[in-house]
Every structure is written in structure tokens, then in C-alpha cells.
Symmetry: C2
Subunit: 310 residues, 2 copies
């Protein structure tokens, strides 16, 4: 039966692949290492070979696959990967290459956007169409979904929540080259830097240690959390006051601290949100973890099929 | 020929009405005073009477009007006006009332959103679908358009740009009840307050006087402008980094200062924008002035007709 789609998430160290039916039931999942040799030029062939091999192994027909969605670690404009620094790609025509080899329609999207779509499709308990997805991990990233569609933007910078400018007494230089982006303060790295600076020595090297200190009622660690959620809360409230979404979803490594992190974050957003939103917004933790990208990449295909009522 | 639409903009002092053809050519325009007596309960009847009278005068047939769009000064949820403080309305079924009287489909939307749609339809030199519209006037307002549609939001707070929280040393209380919203610093009132505070006396009472001082090279007035565009630039860059629109449109009374205001504002946005956007975004002044709301209200009808290919 021709009712299958594939979702692929290309990361810097591994490529995750999954086969779904169009309702989002995951039928198969596997991964291959990311081969960054020769500026990532082997990656398309290795994806194609891996798909063919896996389908053969499982006695599945490629002809049953309606489309393949692929999340990539970089901006995508007009279905071309503009840049993927970790892979070595610049203006890389991945869609065309995979389509030529497999003769199946391919849809590309940015990996953070794919994760957001995954949470839209399979993470929410009720159907939603307007979601702000924020990942708080090594950096701060995100995806904006409006009317069920990812907002990619004119320069594929839609959802670059981590680069909202913040006001601070310090000057921290962001990876993007700007000074005092949200990511410099609201990310795992930002939190660690804040605590070490407050303590004037290296107290922790990761956020797990930091949250352990918080549970032990360490004052500087608690102050660090307060500062961090204040930066995040202010920026997220700014987005929420502008977009007024149905749901805010928080993912990424730091969200694994659970309510210890999410509860003060919710309070901070609430304190800055527009009054008619403040008591009245939905915030939840992302639940798909590192499978979100595969789900979302597959959903990009499914939503296109729906649109054209195929 | 049945190819006409109406656009109505209900303000606190007057109601502006216009007849357009579906391409956006304005065929007729008039206004009536806003009657706020009896909690604004006479307004629907007076709109209906005024339309009937005007059509009769001009020998035009109401049957030629495909639909009526109405911009209202308050939030609209599920096509009901939730609140319009200036008019005295709460949960006011304006759509139903006008439809029952005229037997023509009515679409309601918030007035700032209507102005944004008007600029999308008739203000841009080339077709755009993704626009951030910011009005800098007595307050700071706005509208967000994604894929050609206004983003109204879950609580009709989409585009409430004026209530993005900002960080400041002072504490200014916003009309919404929160402290230090963008509007407290980035609006005409905010600018005047900033200058008077810097000077420690009442120097100006309106922004026209303030811009005259700037042209005369007054240092405190120039400092005020710098502070103002910094607040606005940071907030708008935050939106732009998140939504990555095709165009930023600046309207409202303060925008009438032209390049004296827009040029430093552009510089401020550029300094805070994500690098791939910074050198590369379009910002323009709104051009429809107080006619934008009528155009946008009419376009709300036209875009619905297009969607259903009527």
C-alpha cells in the first residue's frame, strides 16, 4: 500500500532515518554515521545506499514511499542547503541528488524547524496549528509554526530565537558574531558561564551539575537559574506577545531538568506576558527528544500531501 | 457587476467607510461620527443606515457588494469583538448585526491588523506575503502577516508589538498594566517622557517639537532619539530574527518624521539583526496613512474570496 513516508535527520555525527505510515506510526528506524570526508560529498550516496539496503532487508518496496523529508543542520532556501558548516556543504543541492537517485519527491527543511514540526505532529495531546518551539541546549534554537506550516523566512532564519538581542551589563560574543544574543545567556553554556562568573571560579562544567547544586539549595546556582529564566522568559514573552500561539514547547538538553527548570521559566514568561495572555498560555516540555527531527521531516511530506489532497 | 467590496475602519471619534472594486481601486469614501452613547449600541444601525443612504445617493446596488470588512479598535475572537474600550463594547456581535441588516458577509478584524493588511495590499511596490508592520504613534502597535494572512493569535493578541518587554533602569507602567513594555519607551509618549526626564524639565509636548530640536542639533533631543531607536531597534530585530519577513513597514505619527527617524531606526535594527539578515532586509515607511485600515478591511474580504476561488 502506497501510504509510507520517510523522515531523515542529518546531524554532525550521525544520520537518523525512519519509515512512517502517513498517520505518523513509526515502522522502522535506523542510523548511519555522518561521513564528513570530502566536504560531505559522500553523504547523499550513503543515504541512498542505506535506504535501498534497508528496504531490501525488510522486503519493503521503495515504490510504497510517497516522499522523503530531510532535516539538515543549516539554512535551506528554495530547497537548497545554503550552508551546513558541520558537514562542509555550501549551496548543496541535496534534494535534487536524492530525487535523481531514488525517484521519490524530497522536501528539505532546517533541523530545528523539523523538530518543531515533529512536536506539532506527535507531541501535543490535542491538535494545534500555531506553536512556538524553543530548544534550550548547548545553544538556544527554535521553530515557529503558523497555521500548521513552518515559518522558514526570507533568509531561512525563521525561528532563530537564540539570536534575539538581549540587554546585559556584560558583553558576551555570540557564535553568530553579534554581541549579547539570547543564546549567550539562556543556553546551557550561558548558564554555566553565568554561575562561574558569579562565583568567580569554575564551579560546574555542565548543567546537570548545576541543577544538582540547585537541588542542594546552593545560592549562587539558584541565582544563576533566576537570571537565566529571566532572559529566556523576557524573550519568549516578547515572541508570545507578538505571535500569541496556542502552545509553547520547550525542548533541548536543559529541559530535561523538568519542572526545576520549566516552572520558574513559566513564571518568568507569565510576568512579562501581555495581561490577556499571562494567566492563559500553554507551555509544555518537548517529548520526542532526538526523534523529533525524523517525525517532523516526515510530517513536512505528509502536510504537503494533505495540502494537495493526494 | 458584482465585483465590489467595502472596507470600514471604526475609530473612537469617526467611522471611515469606503467602497472598492476587488482589485483595490477605491470608488468612494466617506465618514460618519462615532456615536459612543449607550455603550456604542447605536453604531451598527448607524453604519447600516449610512451605507444604505450612500448607495442610494450614488445609484449603486448593495447587491454588487461581495462582502464588508470592518476594522475595530480592540481584540476580535471568533468574529466577535471581545472588547472595545473606546466604544463601550464587550463581546459585541457586530458581524452578526451587520449581516442580519444588510444580508452581505461581514469579516471583522482588529484595526492595527487591518492597517497591516492594507499596507500589504496597496503599500508595497512588489507583491509580498510576509510582513511585519509596526506603528509608532501615541503607542506602539502592529500587525504580523504570514503567508498573506494576518496572524490574529489565540487571544487576538497577535502583533501586539508594543507590549514586548524591554529592560530599562527606570520603571514605566504601561497602559496594559505591565511594567516596561516597548510602548513605554518606543512610542511618541515614551520619547517625550525620555527627553523631559533627561532635561529634568518639560522641554516638548509632542514629537514634532522634538524632531525640530533634533534638526537644530539639540544634544538631549538627539540622545532621546538614539535611546528610542535603540529600544525599537532591539525589539524589531528580535521579531525579525524570529520571523525573517520579506518587509518591515513602519507607520504611525512618528514615522512622518521620515528619514530623520527611519534612518537611525534602520541602523539600530541592523546592529541587532542576525548576520544573514542584517545587510539584507527591506524596511519602508507606511504610505497609506489613515486610509490603511479601510484598505486592509476590504482586503480581508478579497483574500477570503480568493481563498475560496469565488
Amino acid at each position: 500500500m502506497i501510504n509510507k513516508v520517510m523522515g531523515i535527520d542529518i546531524g554532525g555525527t550521525s544520520i537518523k532515518l525512519a519509515l512512517f505510515d502517513v498517520t505518523g506510526l513509526m515502522l522502522d528506524q535506523w542510523s548511519i554515521p555522518t561521513n564528513t570526508a570530502n566536504a560531505g560529498s559522500e553523504i547523499p550516496v550513503e543515504i541512498v545506499d542505506s535506504i535501498n539496503e534497508r528496504m531490501n532487508q525488510n522486503n519493503q518496496e521503495l515504490a510504497e514511499v510517497l516522499g522523503i523529508g530531510i532535516g539538515v543542520p543549516g539554512p535551506v532556501t528554495d530547497q537548497v542547503v545554503k550552508r551546513a558548516v558541520n558537514l562542509g556543504w555550501t549551496d548543496f543541492p541535496l534534494k535534487q541528488m536524492i530525487e535523481n537517485s531514488l525517484n521519490i519527491p524530497v522536501a528539505l527543511l532546517n533541523d530545528a524547524n523539523a523538530a518543531a514540526l515533529g512536536e506539532l505532529w506527535k507531541g501535543s495531546t490535542e491538535p494545534v496549528q500555531n506553536v512556538v518551539f524553543v530548544t534550550v541546549g548547548t545553544g538556544v534554537g527554535g521553530g515557529i509554526i503558523v497555521n500548521g506550516k513552518i515559518l522558514n523566512g526570507e533568509h531561512s532564519s525563521g525561528g532563530e530565537i537564540g539570536h534575539i538581542p538581549v540587554q546585559a551589563e556584560e558583553e558576551r560574543i555570540c557564535g553568530c558574531g553579534n554581541i549579547n544574543c539570547l543564546e549567550c545567556y539562556g543556553s546551557a553554556n550561558g548558564m554555566i558561564q553565568t554561575l562561574n562568573r558569579l562565583a568567580d571560579e569554575t564551579v560546574v562544567s555542565n548543567t546537570k551539575e548545576l541543577f544538582t547544586l540547585i537541588q542542594m539549595n546552593n545560592l549562587l546556582a539558584k541565582e544563576t537559574l533566576k537570571i537565566t529564566v529571566d532572559y529566556l522568559g523576557r524573550a519568549i514573552a516578547g515572541i508570545v506577545n507578538t505571535l500569541d500561539p496556542e502552545e509553547i514547547v520547550i525542548g533541548g538538553g536543559v529541559s530535561e531538568a523538568g519542572q526545576l527548570f520549566l516552572s520558574p521559566l513559566r513564571d518568568a514568561i507569565e510576568s512579562y506576558a501581555f495581561p490577556q495572555i499571562a494567566g492563559n498560555f500553554r507551555l509544555r516540555k518537548a517529548i520526542l527528544g532526538n526523534e523529533a527531527g525524523m517525525y517532523g521531516a516526515a510530517y513536512q511530506v505528509v502536510s504537503t500531501l494533505k495540502e494537495y489532497a493526494i
